[in-house]
């Protein structure tokens, strides 16, 4: 065995949680080692957020061009386009490369030692990477999550996970997506736009079951318009000879012919394969149990990001990572955000920040709920997008805003304004009294607040 390395902070996992923790620790002068078994950037940069948004962009551009070739009202005339999906994937890989190289450069700049290899936990202060033993004062677990597999639908051949779906060698003629959550729908919609016949099988009675029906309605309509077939309340029973067997609500078995099956039924924390058992940490279901400082049940052992459970979002992991680094440096910190935004890059996009009307009610709050439709927003019209709305939830007694939701083209960017207003403790009057630029989608934010106060201007 080579000589033992000693460090103050050891981070297992170089995804958005781990690498941000490392950068912040570096800035604070904490000697830090980061262990990564695959590629820096984790799921997010390599097989998640970034590649999927690249593929969605390709699909959107392609579909727009198809749209124009069929005589669009915009007066653009083009021939029927063709798609070289291998080039698209190359382009996407270029973006991923640039970003992961950037992460490596940032880590180097902040004097973080990156060790490539698979970590094996020995105890709360000792980790082996191959022959290398590393001893640390603080251990940060940031191993992320992986796709959940279905026992009756093992991956392989035509049965793929989101990882394979993000690096296609060709666009299948027919694709069935198992799972009507955001990952399944984002990819299903993209594949439909790329030319595949797409069906979505979902066990619950509606798509995006994590969000309320009013909010998901515009996505529902868009899916119908795109020609995606929905099999709601259907459950998968098996796959054989290019046929997916599903059971309908009546218990009858249907056989759906397809070329590929994309399994997107959620993600689970990565707790296997690095001898985590050695620490015998308290668990919260499949995730590691943490407190408001991301501390596990073992002193000086922290867990952040997907490994610590829902919501499994890169920006949550980043914020946790930053906080843990500051905690270790001796600052008093707590992970206590007013809200963590969540975005679905479906078509149209969907964003939620803070409490939904139902959640507010469940919390015992008496709330005003008000929405403003993009049909009455000039900018939306110029973007050929009229569906969707912005919705605000505010306490009736003091007009404190407790939640924002929006659905519509490009609304993901509104998450910034929503998040800020919640963190700053804005009331309806604050947003209503802020001049929003014209013509922008953001005007709908101001109008939703105005409408909640009873005096929307453009409705």
């Amino acid at each position: 065995m080579t000589q033992t390395l000693h460090t103050t902070l050891l981070i297992i996992g170089g995804g958005p949680g781990g690498y941000v923790a490392a950068i912040r620790a570096g800035q604070l002068g904490i000697p830090t080692i980061l262990v990564e078994g695959q590629a820096l950037g984790g799921t997010c940069l390599n097989i998640g957020c970034i590649p999927s948004k690249a593929l969605i962009h390709v699909a959107e551009q392609f579909q727009q061009t198809v749209h124009h070739s069929q005589g669009s009202p915009l007066g653009i005339e083009v021939d029927v386009p063709t798609l070289d999906i291998r080039k698209s994937v190359e382009w996407k890989d270029g973006i991923v490369d640039r970003l992961t190289t950037g992460v490596a450069a940032l880590l180097k700049k902040h004097k973080v030692q990156v060790i490539h290899g698979w970590a094996k936990v020995v105890d709360g202060k000792t980790v082996d990477v191959g022959e290398q033993r590393i001893q640390c004062e603080h251990l940060l677990l940031a191993t992320g999550s992986k796709s959940v597999e279905l026992p009756m639908l093992p991956l392989g051949g035509p049965v793929i996970s989101s990882t394979e779906a993000l690096a296609p060698s060709h666009v299948p003629k027919r694709l069935i997506v198992v799972g009507g959550g955001y990952i399944g729908l984002e990819l299903g919609i993209a594949y439909r736009k790329l030319g595949a016949d797409v069906s979505v099988v979902e066990a619950q009675e509606r798509i995006l079951p994590a969000y309320d029906a009013e909010l998901t309605q515009p996505v529902n309509e868009s899916i119908k318009q795109l020609g995606i077939k929905l099999y709601l309340k259907h459950s998968v029973s098996g796959f054989a000879d290019n046929c997916l067997q599903v059971r309908d609500p009546n218990g009858d078995t249907l056989s759906l012919e397809t070329d590929q099956v994309l399994v997107a039924v959620g993600r689970k924390p990565n707790t296997q394969g690095f001898n985590l058992e050695a620490l015998n940490l308290d668990m919260n279901g499949a995730a590691i149990k943490i407190d408001s400082r991301c501390q596990t049940s073992m002193r000086n052992v922290y867990a952040i990001g997907d490994l610590s459970g829902e919501p499994m979002l890169a920006h949550r992991a980043m914020a946790q990572g930053e906080m843990v680094a500051e905690l270790i440096s001796g600052k008093a910190r707590e992970f206590n955000p007013a809200a963590i935004p969540a975005v679905c890059f479906t078509d149209p996009e969907l964003v939620v920040v803070g409490k939904s009307p139902d959640e507010a009610k469940a919390a015992g709050l008496d709330c005003i709920v008000s929405s403003f439709p993009f049909a009455a927003n000039g900018r939306a019209m110029t973007l050929e997008s009229k569906t969707g709305f912005v919705r605000v939830v505010a306490r009736r007694d003091n007009h404190l805003i407790v939640g924002w939701q929006a659905v519509g083209a490009g609304v993901s960017e509104l998450s910034t304004a929503f998040g800020l207003s919640l963190e700053m403790g804005a009331r309806l009057e604050d947003v209503a009294g802020t001049i929003h630029a014209h013509p922008t989608l953001g005007e709908a934010v101001q109008e939703a607040a105005l409408r909640a106060l009873g005096h929307a201007l453009h409705l």
Binding site: S329, K331, A332, N336, N398, L400, G425, R427
Partner: protein, 419 residues
């Protein structure tokens, strides 16, 4: 006339039920602000529920002995004005004052017509378990200052805690006036101080030293009457030109001379390599208190320094250490350590070794004591030396003889300078 409703507050940590123990009022009673209305009990404690308002009790929400849910109506009071019956504020945690903030804030005399805004901006009392409303910057500031925002009353819209509110709270907390208000108040505050940086270093060194070395301490009293006379005399004569002498340079000199016969005391013991290194040079570490903690700057080659040379170096190093200007070299490499708290020296101490050294000499305070010399009681200046040694490599006999040698030198100060 309106009705003010008080709900059962959450007085524990996340408890759902509270037992109502006793009423101090009954229906029809007139109550004043801060008057105790009821006693309630959790599994941990009995708590008074004071009235936040003046008024008349209309109804009581329960019988003594009844276990009531947190948030259920405890009592209704008829008050002047609108009351709060529509949205009853919790009488939040007892530490929180329910007094409306508007009172403490003098209304600015302005002709600004803002009647509508004023109505909405009335402070809304927070629910007991509700997270305090504050921007991320304010939250961070509070964390840095160790203030739970729960305790800070917000003056912003919807009761938002502004930077100004936090500043005001911090200042109020810092002023002794508020502490003097009731010096017998039971305190339950805790403040966690992360052990980092210098403090951690000190903690590690001390822990390491006490764990590894087999400490034993040896105390001897020394008659420093003659030594102090000499010191005073030298200061009178040369103080103006060469600087004032303390007792320390004399003790350093005594150590230097005594160590010639006890090389085993001026040594470092590397217990991992199992090697003892004896030094010809005497590098004396002088323990010094700085703002960040204990530091030990080193007087190098004390054996080659004159009395005033040593004095000057001790002063220079102490200043450097206190100002954080001491270099790494100046803070390492000692072969033996001298520790003194001057007037705070006490009568006995048990110094912790500065590992890997094997000896540390501690100086206690000088006091005038009646001593018996040749059958006569005379007043002498007495001082104790409390020294510790690493018994793994220093035998008790050697240590005792070394200290006796130091004692002999200090009691006959001329011998300090005889070669």
């Amino acid at each position: 006339m309106g009705t003010h409703v008080i709900k059962m507050p959450d007085i524990g940590e996340g408890i759902a039920e509270v037992e109502l123990s006793q009423w101090h009022v009954k229906v029809g009673d007139l109550v004043v602000e801060d008057q105790v209305l009821a006693d309630v009990m959790t599994d941990k404690a009995m708590v008074d529920i004071p009235s936040p308002v003046h008024g008349k009790v209309i109804s009581l929400g329960g019988e003594p002995g009844e276990v009531m849910a947190v948030g259920s109506i405890l009592i209704s009071i008829e008050v002047e004005g609108a009351g709060n019956a529509r949205e009853a504020p919790a009488v939040a945690a007892p530490v929180e004052k329910a007094a409306p903030l508007v009172e403490s804030k003098p209304e600015p005399v302005q002709s600004k017509p803002a009647p509508v805004a004023a109505k909405v901006q009335a402070p809304v009392a927070r629910e007991a378990n509700e997270r305090p409303l504050a921007s991320p910057a304010v939250r961070k500031h509070a964390l840095d200052a160790g203030i739970p925002l729960r305790l800070v009353q917000g003056s912003g819209p919807a009761g938002r805690i502004l930077h100004e509110d936090l500043e005001a709270y911090l200042q109020q907390g810092a002023s002794p006036a508020s502490a003097a208000a009731n010096p017998y108040t039971e305190r339950n505050d805790e403040h966690q101080i992360p052990v980092i940086g210098m403090r951690r270093k000190i903690a590690q060194r001390m822990q390491d030293a006490t764990r590894r070395a087999a400490h034993f301490s040896y105390v001897e009293e020394i008659d420093v009457t003659a030594l102090d006379e000499l010191r005073v005399h030298l200061n009178d004569k040369h103080g103006a030109t060469r600087g004032k002498l303390t007792l320390l340079p004399f003790i350093v000199r005594a150590m230097v001379v005594a160590l010639r016969d006890f090389p085993q005391i001026n040594a470092r013991y590397d217990d991992e390599a199992q090697v003892i290194t004896r030094f010809g040079a005497v590098h004396v570490g002088v323990a010094t208190q700085s703002d960040v903690g204990l530091m030990v700057p080193v007087v190098r080659h004390a054996e080659a320094r004159s009395l005033w040379g040593t004095a000057e170096e001790i002063t220079r190093l102490a200043n450097a250490a206190r100002n954080g200007k001491a270099s790494r070299e100046e803070l390492s490499g000692s072969t033996i350590t001298l520790t003194s708290l001057g007037a705070l020296g006490g009568i006995v101490s048990t110094p912790v070794l500065n590992l890997p050294e094997v000896a540390i000499v501690g100086v206690n305070r000088i006091v005038e004591r009646p001593m018996v010399i040749k059958g006569q009681i005379v007043v002498r200046k007495m001082m104790n030396l409390s020294s510790s040694f690493d018994h793994r490599v220093v035998d008790g006999m050697d240590a005792a003889q070394f200290i006796q040698a130091v004692r002999g030198l200090l009691e006959q100060p001329a011998s300090l300078f005889l070669e």
